[in-house]
């Protein structure tokens, strides 16, 4: 389904005279928030595939109002859990990109990810914590990689949990550092109930991603993650 969506996007891109679909999706990936919130029918993987290999045009969400409206108005049943969060980190995009690009670093600040093993330039093997002490594993591909700007990944066909995501690094105004935006989507796999996925992803996925990004920021800015676990207290 995702690949079809990608194909549809690409074919539209070739026919649309005013603004190519590829650019539109690039605009969504590159632009501001809320647009994705309204994306109901398209899978994130479709979007990411569509823009893979293309230049990442930066448009604000307001660059194409009609698209934004269209997207926000879109209706449909969405089984995916999709979250989007942004944080500003007082480090260069290059430093942040380099740390993130080594996926084996991700468990350092992502609590739901137990481990990531990098297999080769594109592929990696992920192990995530699941409810009741279980784990879920899958292989993922980097499907879009733009140094110091964007990394997009998606699970391979037949993964236990179909998931995809991207992280984008863009300069914050003036001397305020780098804006790091993460969008992730987990699709409900066959035979697995949505609630289980929700648990995997935390009771409140938005908050979980928010916490993970905050830990990423702490780690990058201060070299450690603030904690009180293990401190003194009255029994």
């Amino acid at each position: 389904m995702e690949t079809e969506a990608g194909k549809i996007n690409q074919s539209q891109a070739e026919t649309d005279e005013t603004i190519s679909d590829k650019e539109r999706w690039a605009s969504i990936v590159g632009g501001s928030a809320m647009v994705l919130m309204g994306l109901q029918q398209r899978s994130l993987r479709g979007i990411l595939t569509a823009i893979a290999g293309g230049g990442l045009a930066y448009h604000g969400a307001t660059a194409d109002k009609s698209l934004q409206d269209k997207v926000v108005d879109a209706t449909g049943i969405n089984k995916a859990i999709r979250v989007e969060k942004t944080v500003t980190i007082d480090k260069s995009a290059e430093e942040l990109y380099n740390y993130w690009h080594n996926f084996e670093n991700l468990p350092n600040f992502m609590k739901h990810v137990k481990s990531v093993q990098v297999l080769d330039m594109r592929r990696s093997h992920w192990v995530a914590n699941a409810p009741l002490g279980q784990t879920i594993e899958w292989d993922a591909d980097i499907i879009n990689d733009q140094p110091n700007q964007l990394i997009a990944w998606a699970s391979e066909e037949g993964a236990q949990v179909d998931n995809s995501g991207f992280v984008r690094f863009s300069p914050a105004p003036s001397d305020r550092g780098t804006e790091v935006k993460v969008v992730m989507e987990y699709n409900v796999p066959g035979g697995m109930v949505t609630a289980a996925i929700a648990k995997l992803f935390g009771e409140e996925p938005e908050q979980q991603i928010g916490d993970e990004l905050r830990r990423f920021k702490q780690l990058m800015e201060t070299g450690e993650i603030a904690t009180t676990e293990g401190q003194s207290r009255g029994q």
Partner: protein, 338 residues
């Protein structure tokens, strides 16, 4: 307010008569008049804090129990602010005319100069209070005329980006098209969350409350009546302030230009304190900003007339109020022609 009071505080016109002490104006001068009535001689006027004038409110005693001290008079704006006859009329008396009436330079139409009487300087002060620095993102609540000029002013003062918040599509459209603002329709998305995402998770550096000014006639009368009855009151619209306190970035500034008269309930002071916010507010210092706005207008850098969507004869003022209040017919601002 009392029945029979003439309302209106935003106007331009031609001088037809002057008192014997008026030195800078003469019959026939075309002038724009600040909505604030200020003596020009007291400590506050001399410090350019024109709306805090010590001397221009003949009924200042009414204000003291409520505000502690009396502030300047305002045209057509209840007896609490002096009971001065307003300007939605064919003629109006201008006290301290040397300070309040400012000559309109050649080449500006009435529609261009009129917003410089009140709405534009209010917006400019709203932005000015934010102490905008390079890279700052400013969020503006309310896209009525004052909001429109606030947005424009924030850009004039160097904002990196202005995000405008309203629920009326025409107003948001005007904010985008006339000033290049990004917009949030708060009926469609949560303004706080949207602002957080649009600012890289930091929050806007400054938040400006430009809501409620256009409707203040009604709101204010309500306030005044309740004050008179010495009733426990919470008559203002604190919703915007609450939202701004939560949405603003840590260490940011709130600039409050929406008119508040009474008491505020449910104020999240803990959030304001914890985030170390600075709150700035006040009736606008008209005479401080009007000359520079006229200067910009005459140079063609701004054309404030874009906010006018309706022009009506003074005879139809009642209908105009209805249209404006209910935002019928995409109404943003009405000019009345006597």
């Amino acid at each position: 307010m009392m029945p029979g009071d003439i309302i209106g505080h935003e106007f331009v016109g031609e001088i037809v008569e002057t008192g014997r002490e008026v030195k800078t104006l003469k019959k026939g001068d075309r002038v724009v008049v600040s909505s604030m009535i200020s003596c020009g001689q007291c400590r506050y006027c001399k410090h350019q804090e024109w709306s805090l004038c010590d001397n221009s409110n003949p009924k200042g005693a009414l204000q003291e129990p409520l505000f502690g001290f009396s502030t300047s008079g305002i045209y057509g704006y209840s007896h609490l602010f002096g009971g001065y006859a307003g300007a939605q009329a064919e003629y109006v008396r201008i006290p301290y005319a040397d300070y309040g009436a400012i000559k309109i330079p050649e080449g500006l139409t009435d529609e261009q100069a009129l917003p410089i009487s009140d709405a534009f300087p209010t917006g400019l002060m709203g932005a000015d209070l934010c102490n905008i620095k390079r890279g700052d993102i400013v969020a503006v609540w309310g896209c009525g005329p004052v909001g429109q000029f606030t947005i424009r002013s924030a850009y004039m003062l160097g904002a990196e980006r202005v995000i405008a918040i309203d629920r009326v599509p025409e107003r948001l459209k005007m904010a985008r098209e006339q000033s290049g603002a990004d917009t949030i329709n708060y009926e469609e998305v949560g303004a706080g969350e949207a602002l957080k995402e649009m600012t890289g998770g930091r929050g806007p550096d400054a938040c400006i409350d430009a809501v409620g000014l256009e409707a203040h006639g009604m709101g204010f009368m309500g306030a005044y009546d309740e004050v008179k009855q010495a009733v426990k009151l919470s008559i203002d619209r604190p919703y915007v302030i609450r939202q701004m306190i939560l949405a603003c970035r840590k260490g940011g500034t709130l600039s409050i230009m929406g008119v508040y008269a009474g008491f505020l309930d449910k104020m999240p002071m803990g959030a304001a304190f914890s985030k170390g916010l600075t709150l700035k507010m006040g009736q606008m210092f008209g005479q401080k900003y009007i000359p520079m706005l006229l200067d910009r207008a005459v140079k063609g850098e701004i054309d404030p007339s874009y906010v006018f969507t309706h022009q009506m004869p003074l005879d139809q003022a009642k209908q105009a109020y209805e249209t404006f209040k209910h935002k019928k017919d995409n109404c943003i601002k009405v000019v009345l022609k006597p």
